[in-house]
Amino acid sequence: MTYTTIDHRPEEPFRPDSPGYEENFPWIKWVPLFLEVVLLAIGIFNLLSATAVEDKSMGLWKNQIVSIGLGVLATAVILIPHYSTFSRLAYAIYAGNIGLLLVVLAFGKTTLGAKRWISFGGLSLQPSELMKLSVVIFLAKYFERINVPGGFRLKDLALPTLFVLIPVAMILVQPDLGTAMIICLVYGSMLLFQKINPRTLLILATVAGFAAPIIYNTGLKPYQKQRLVSFIDPMSDPKGSGYNSIQSMIAVGSGQLSGKGYRKGTQSHLNFLPEHHTDFIFSVFSEEWGFAGCVGLLVLYVFFLSSGMSVAYQSNDKFAMLLAFGILSIFFWHIFINMGMVMGMLPIVGVPLPFMSYGGSAILTAMCGVAIILNIANKKYMF
């Protein structure tokens, strides 16, 4: 392990791969923002339909607009300083967010049997959502200083793993299996992105293989187990746990090629879909817009992630690269797991679809993530 001192302030501009690229396309760095706006617009449009159902979701799209407003404010704030500020504040951000999680455990608001929210005034915040970003910032900062030629070995991973597992454990207690899992997946992605020693990788895979059944038997709540069982065989209890999965698959499939039309989704509007405005928002969209709409949405997400990757690629700064990559992997796993779950490929875990699902904390976290990427794209040549 070698330690290097890093100066984030470049002495001169540097254009490694595409000379004249920035000059010819000055708008290119705003592509992630543009795609974010498009996706948010689709999200609100879709939510208008999903929350026209006469149940608890009725009219909630208005709240989503407020959340987006807050997200815009956060974006503006994040764009002001140089991203190196995040490097300086990384540990403080991490510690602060852990503090918020402690507050949740102590005084959190219990909804649907889970304790995930802290509320002040009329607003409630889900610190576990923000923790995803905090962990990524923490890891980017941590790994920036570390270089292990030939890949990480177990002893190199001990410390960062500990710092990842602290919030993961706190989130599992809430319980919020989805968020805890996302943090683990993001951590794994960031490690693989850098490089893990092949032997270590083999050991880790073996340990994971043995640990899975133990975790299943001891670490999961009955309803979480039930979800896994019903994922493997949804028809085992079509009215119970498998019900959501089946209804969701029916919703997606019944959209066929071109969909049933905007606000004409029967599965959602007749209340067959549970949580149709949050975790299952994609089933509302796919029911109404069909295969054509879904592929379109998928392409937008792929463009969004690619544009983010190009920002990371061109940042020429290990911290920025790891930070951007980490944020993108949050988005990637959210999209993949949420869609996979809605389409019955993955067990049901509470993971929202970025920009589409209803939920203030999720929207705020996503917009902050995009803001950091925009900051990286724009602040390369500052100072």
Binding site: T4, I6, D7, H8, P10, E11, F14, P16, A52, T111, L112, G113, E144, N147, F193, Q194, K195, K239, Q247, M249, I250, V252, G253, S254, G255, Q256, L257, K264, T266, Q267, H269, L270, N271, F272, P274, S286, F291, C294, V295, L298, V302, L305, S306, M309, A312, Y313, N316, D317, K318, F319, A320, M321, L322, F332, I335, F336, M339, G340, M343, M345
Partner: protein, 659 residues
């Protein structure tokens, strides 16, 4: 320095972006494939599932036919019942479950712990399935809950149809109860039935509800309604802008009503008469076999069964030593005791071994070989003929009569003619056949020949002789109508729900025996004396100005010295006390009601069973013969009698003639 930080490390990382891009593309391809699989390859089927999801065929339950008494007054009806239900999912989502439960508990004035227990019990089922918190709300409770509806998320009042026995536990054994079809009986039930039953259907489980199930059951209708995933039917949405389903409704056809021969007023009188005594009563019209009253005590309320039997209640009913679930009028047989002397008298008179002039001097006992057989009256009745013997229930007369008969088979022959030993064939299941012993029967059953002393016992309705309450009533009915044995029946007619008579049931004759007029006259004279002669065994039950006749019987449950029968009974343990039996009829001329009462362990026929019969007969006469037996008519007659008595050359009253 061109790169920020370590150039080499950053370059290395840039290299790895190709793997990240690959992972991104792979993820997108997986998702797109799944989309194609669901939406393109299975889209058609999924669309169909979605359609079926929305439109549900909902059963419109048909009202079950009513049971009406002979005056077409409803006895069993379908009444709306209101339950308060809660959907746990909505309660949970509201976030103030305990507050709501407390509120409901306060409105219904029940402890909140009860409601929590109900909710706890439903933990296993899906949370969107409603749970009942309390059944059969009063109108006030319904109003209270509806008023605070908005403050009680997840709580609602639901209407259900409750099969209701309007008179509670009266005649439950006859009317029967209904219940949900059980999985075990489903296959049996659906054999040879055009309209199949399903598990959520109700079916008659006992009594007339069971016997006339095909008549009472209606034809369920159906309706296509739009429902949400929770199965709640929903209003057609304005926003959907199209009619999703034509409201194709198949109306239900209600079941047919049964018009019974029972008279609810007599039923109520019988229950009044019984009080808390145990036993059965049956009243028959001797002119056609119609059953006017039929009860068994103690009883149960079928209404409590109709929406699922509470297990505690069921266990209590089964464990009760007085067997409230048994119909004591037809399912239990007893030794008929002295009430059977009528049959012995018929045998003697018809076989010609005695006539009205045959007199026996009762000294209180007779010698039979080296045994002494006692009369129930130790000091004896003195010289008695058949009329007096019946009136005073003299055992010795019937012992002598038995000795004059060729064998017990003579008694058996006439007992069989009068309907003993075979089921009467009333429209109810599990009727007991009773037993008429013969010499052959005993040889076959026990392998021992008939002993001469046993004939004496049979002559006074003891030993092997067994009869049901309904057989006793029917036999006396056949006696007073001159020998016609009708099949007792409960059903007069079947009518459609709108009151059209569909079918009537004429009387059915089981056997026509020609009894000599002299036989009937002598025996009925004796039976008149039982109640109205000061020396009659049931004279205590006589009603001033209202004459009826009958015969008492006191049946020993355990062997006990004859003279101790009356003295000791009340001090015996309940299970060892004698049964009281009374069979009677009214009016004296052209009888139109015959009734038999068995009061278990009531010690005596006259004091145990007599008052019950008296109550029913009094009610009957006052209702059916108001000209003769209304209170004012009786008062007038008594006044006239008094006047006539005081006047010289007055016409003798029947009693004086008798004496």
């Amino acid at each position: 320095m061109a790169f920020i930080g370590n150039e080499e490390q950053t370059r290395e990382l840039q290299d790895r972006f190709k793997y990240a891009t690959l992972a991104l593309i792979l993820g997108a391809v997986i998702l797109a494939s799944r989309l194609a699989y669901l939406q393109i390859f299975n889209g058609e089927q999924m669309r169909q599932y979605a359609e079926e999801n929305r439109i549900k065929k909902v059963k419109i339950p048909s009202p079950r036919g009513m049971l009406l008494d002979r005056f077409r007054r409803p006895v069993v009806d379908n009444r709306p019942a209101f339950d308060v239900i809660v959907t746990p999912q909505y309660l949970k989502e509201s976030g103030r479950a305990s507050e709501v439960l407390n509120r409901v508990a306060a409105l219904l004035k029940v402890p909140v712990a009860d409601l929590e227990k109900r909710l706890e019990k439903s933990k296993g089922q899906a949370s969107f399935l409603p749970v009942s918190l309390k059944e059969n709300l009063t109108r006030d409770e319904v109003a209270e809950l509806e008023t605070w509806k908005l403050e009680l998320p997840g709580v609602s009042v639901e209407m259900a149809i409750q099969r209701t026995n309007l008179h509670g536990d009266v005649a439950s054994h006859v009317l029967g109860y209904i219940g949900q079809v059980s999985p075990q009986e489903l296959t049996k039930l659906n054999q040879g039935v055009a309209r199949k039953y399903s598990l959520d259907d109700v079916v008659g489980k006992s009594g007339l509800e069971k016997e006339f199930e095909p008549v009472l059951r209606g034809v369920d209708g159906s309706e296509l309604v739009e429902v949400d995933a929770l199965g709640r039917s929903i209003q057609k949405r304005e926003t959907s802008g199209r009619v999703l389903v034509q409201n194709r409704e198949v109306p239900s056809i209600p079941g047919k009503n049964l018009i019974l021969s029972l008279d609810q007023d007599l039923q109520d009188a019988a229950v009044r008469g019984f009080g808390d005594k145990t036993g059965g009563l049956i009243a028959i019209d001797p002119r056609n076999g119609e059953v006017l009253a039929m009860i068994s005590r103690p009883s149960f309320d079928p209404t409590q069964f109709s929406r699922g039997i509470d297990n505690d209640l069921w266990q209590k009913l089964i464990a009760d030593e007085k067997k409230p679930l048994r119909d004591k009028a037809i399912q239990d047989h007893y030794m008929p005791g002295s009430t059977f002397k009528v049959i012995t008298a018929i045998a003697g008179l018809e076989e010609g071994v005695i006539d009205e002039n045959t007199t026996v001097n009762c000294t209180g006992s007779i010698n039979l070989g080296n045994r002494v057989v006692h009369c129930h009256k130790k000091e004896g009745h003195g010289p008695v003929n058949v009329v007096k013997a019946l009136t005073k229930s003299c055992d010795v007369f019937f012992y002598r009569l038995a000795q004059k008969l060729k064998s017990v088979n003579d008694i058996a022959k006439w007992a069989s003619h009068m309907g003993f030993g075979t089921r009467t064939g009333i429209e109810l299941a599990r009727e007991a056949p009773g037993l008429v012993p013969t010499e052959e029967w005993k040889q076959k059953r026990f392998g021992v020949p008939w002993g001469p002393g046993e004939t004496l016992s049979v002559a006074i309705g003891q030993s092997f002789m067994l009869a049901t309450t309904i057989q006793l009533a029917n036999a006396y009915a056949a006696l007073v109508n001159g020998g016609t044995l009708y099949r007792p029946h409960l059903l007069r007619a079947v009518e459609s729900a709108d009151g059209q008579i569909l079918r009537e049931f004429p009387p059915q004759i089981l056997e026509k025996t020609s009894l000599q007029k002299k036989t009937v006259d002598l025996i009925t004279q004796g039976l008149w004396g039982v109640v109205n002669d000061p020396g009659g065994t049931a004279h205590t039950q006589a009603i001033k100005g209202m004459e009826f006749a009958g015969k008492t019987g006191t049946v020993q449950v355990i062997q006990i010295r004859a003279e101790k029968i009356f003295a000791k009974c009340a001090t015996l343990p309940y299970r060892n006390r004698h049964h009281g039996v009374f069979v009677g009829y009214a009016p004296i001329k052209n009888p139109s009601i015959v009734l038999a009462v068995v009061a278990e362990h009531a010690c005596s026929g006259s004091m145990g069973a007599g008052p019950i019969a008296r109550e029913v007969i009094k009610t009957y006469l006052q209702k059916y013969y108001p000209d003769l037996y209304s209170d004012s008519a009786i008062a007038d007659r008594i006044k006239a009698d008094q006047k006539a008595k005081n006047a010289p050359n007055s016409a003798p009253t029947p009693r004086e003639v008798e004496e």
